[in-house]
């Protein structure tokens, strides 16, 4: 991968990389459809799709396949795809915007804030998906604004300070969530809260997909349209101003939308750590730092990453391992590697 950084990128090599990652996504998606505790054969998948399209009744021997495919695996994979993209795109945007390769939705406190917000909604309003999303978004936004303002106030080594500010804000909201668990009704609310905070895609149904995917899709599309200005924002405020970028307005838009897509993911799938840090880095190493290509590339790579991690989580053992554990096992050493590499440079 390191070699690729020095390679003279021509247009065709970028196109090749996109083609490669799209093929990878398709392969990961199709592969993941078939594997799991209940394996699905290709022939059976095609058959249940055909029966569904032609609106015919399901023969007995395909009933299980039909349920697993339409009600369990397809919504789950679609959700994983979009959540992976959302986390990767959000991480890419935050890293460019704050000119800081060490930040991510987790490190800035967005994920913790959104988790707290979602927990609050579960406690106060009950299991209303809409309320959970709104509350997650609100507190996610509060968290990132708090971290950013705290770091800006310090005016010293902003890269480290922003990371520290994020740690502080995250700690506050994580404590808040623990407090919510402490005061929750142990028979009704607590199980719902704990179940949801574990994260993952095991309970995803079509209603969750309908709630989250449109928000994430629209958010990613807007960020995709605004991607090039991120290059200029990454040069710093004064330079961006002199190049005609309305810095404050743009920053607000980027933060709001990047937070919205993370909050929307967190509200349905809980916190899935490290993706927003690791995937943008990998994407940058492969395709370069220009957001013109980086943002869409990270979106696709994020989807591939989460789909593979989720498949791993539900196949490597008899039970299902929470996906957050797997992403942490990969993400934490990766951050260690980045620090080690930075120290060497």
């Amino acid at each position: 991968m390191k070699k690729l950084v020095g390679v003279k990128m021509t247009k065709t090599s970028e196109q090749k990389l996109f083609l490669l990652v799209i093929i990878l996504l398709l392969a990961a998606f199709l592969f993941s459809l078939t594997v799991g505790r209940y394996g699905l054969g290709w022939f059976n998948i095609l058959e249940v799709i055909k029966l569904k399209i032609t609106d015919q009744s399901i023969p007995d021997h395909l009933t299980s396949d039909d349920i697993v495919f339409w009600s369990v695996r397809l919504p789950r994979l679609l959700m994983a795809l979009f959540v992976g993209s959302a986390l990767a795109v959000s991480g890419t945007v935050f890293q460019g915007l704050f000119r800081n390769p060490l930040v991510s939705p987790d490190i800035l406190g967005v994920s913790a804030g959104a988790s707290f917000g979602a927990g609050m909604a579960i406690l106060l309003v009950g299991n209303s998906a809409f309320a959970i999303q709104i509350s997650a978004f609100g507190f996610g936004l509060v968290a990132v604004v708090l971290a950013y303002q705290l770091a800006r106030h310090c005016r010293t080594d902003t890269i480290t300070v922003l990371v520290l500010a994020g740690v502080i804000v995250s700690a506050l909201f994580t404590a808040g969530l623990s407090f919510l668990k402490y005061v929750a009704d142990p028979y009704e609310e607590l199980p719902a809260l704990v179940f949801w905070t574990m994260g993952g895609f095991s309970t995803i149904a079509w209603k969750d997909v309908a709630m989250t995917v449109p928000v994430v899709l629209i958010g990613i599309l807007i960020l995709y349209l605004l991607r090039w200005k991120l290059d200029i924002m990454a040069l710093g405020d004064e330079e961006a101003l002199s190049l005609g970028v309305k810095v404050n307005k743009m920053r607000l838009i980027y933060i709001a939308i990047a937070t919205l897509i993370v909050a929307s993911s967190v509200a349905t799938c809980g916190t899935i750590g490290w993706v927003g840090l690791v995937v943008p880095h990998m994407a940058r190493l492969i395709i370069g730092p220009g957001h013109n290509h980086l943002l869409p590339f990270a979106a696709i790579l994020g989807a591939v990453f989460i789909i593979l991690m989720d498949t791993l989580a539900r196949t490597i053992s008899g039970g299902e391992i929470p996906i957050g554990i797997i992403t942490s096992f990969i993400g934490a050493p990766f951050l260690g590697y980045l620090l080690w590499k930075q120290g060497k440079d």
Partner: protein, 275 residues
């Protein structure tokens, strides 16, 4: 007609007055040098002209239109800036840095097309640094970086160009390269160029007009020959400074204390005394 008018600009950092009723104007096709000691307000003035800092009073007019009526994008279509240095965290390619000069003409959702990039590479070739186009900005030398930032400002194609100490950190060859390029762009395109400078000799040979700043106030203004005189220079730098004429009839600005003995002679004397 003056292309740029600065009218009674006053600016405060907190309660400290950094610029005090600064007024001057520059015509098209001319280079105006801003000179003054450290902390005299040169960079602040440049940022006020560009609208990055909002002055407490006064205004800046481009072709008699006050800038405070324009938004950031409109200002950037009229005025480009060459910063002293840029600290890009991400390793953008040189061609991609130059393309950013087109940003003010783009819609908010617009990204540059391949033809914009081709134009940027052509400009780099015209400036004699086409070989840098695909290299990473963070990996090239200080002189090359300054050249790339200047190329970006040229690519921005504005009527006014502001440069903040464009030659600081550069060796003599690169200083000459940058300044000659600024001069030719200013004349060929008939633009107005304002640059802050530390070295009065650079201003003496390359600026048409000079504004001297001291403690946020104007301490001298006008044609370079008329302003860069012993009295004015000694006043702003609080040091005896002379404009000497060499045997070949060239003017050189030099502090008085350096004229009597050069450093080598002084050290030789000390060395003799010790022995």
């Amino acid at each position: 007609m003056e292309a740029l008018n600065v009218e009674k600009l006053t600016f405060y950092y907190g309660t400290r007055c950094v610029l005090d009723e600064v007024s001057f104007s520059v015509s098209s096709g001319l280079i105006c040098g801003l000179l003054g000691p450290n902390g005299s307000g040169k960079t602040t003035l440049l940022k006020c002209i560009n609208g990055i800092y909002k002055p407490a009073t006064g205004c800046v007019k481009v072709n008699n239109v006050p800038l405070d009526q324009s938004d950031r994008q409109e200002i950037a279509r009229k005025m480009s800036v060459v910063p002293q240095q840029t600290n890009s965290v991400f390793a953008f390619k040189v061609a991609d840095m130059v393309v950013m000069g087109r940003s003010p003409t783009f819609e908010i959702w617009q990204a540059p097309s391949p033809s914009d990039r081709v134009d940027a590479i052509k400009l780099l070739k015209d400036l004699g640094v086409g070989h840098l186009a695909e290299r990473h900005f963070n990996e090239i030398s200080g002189g090359e970086r300054q050249l790339v930032l200047l190329a970006r400002a040229i690519f921005q194609n504005t009527q006014i160009m502001l440069l903040d100490e464009p030659t600081s950190h550069l060796d003599l060859k690169n200083q000459v390269k940058i300044i000659e390029l600024v001069k030719s762009v200013t004349v060929e395109r008939g633009i107005t160029t304002i640059m802050t400078l530390h070295d009065p000799n650079l201003a003496l040979y390359n600026c048409d007009e000079v504004v001297l700043l001291k403690n946020g106030r104007i301490a001298g203004i006008g044609k370079t020959d008329q302003v860069l005189i012993d009295e004015n220079l000694s006043n702003i730098y609080e040091l005896n400074v002379n404009v000497e004429v060499t045997q070949r009839g060239k003017k050189v600005i030099i502090p008085e204390c350096w004229q009597e003995n050069n450093a080598y002679q002084e050290r030789s004397l000390i060395h003799e005394k010790v022995q």
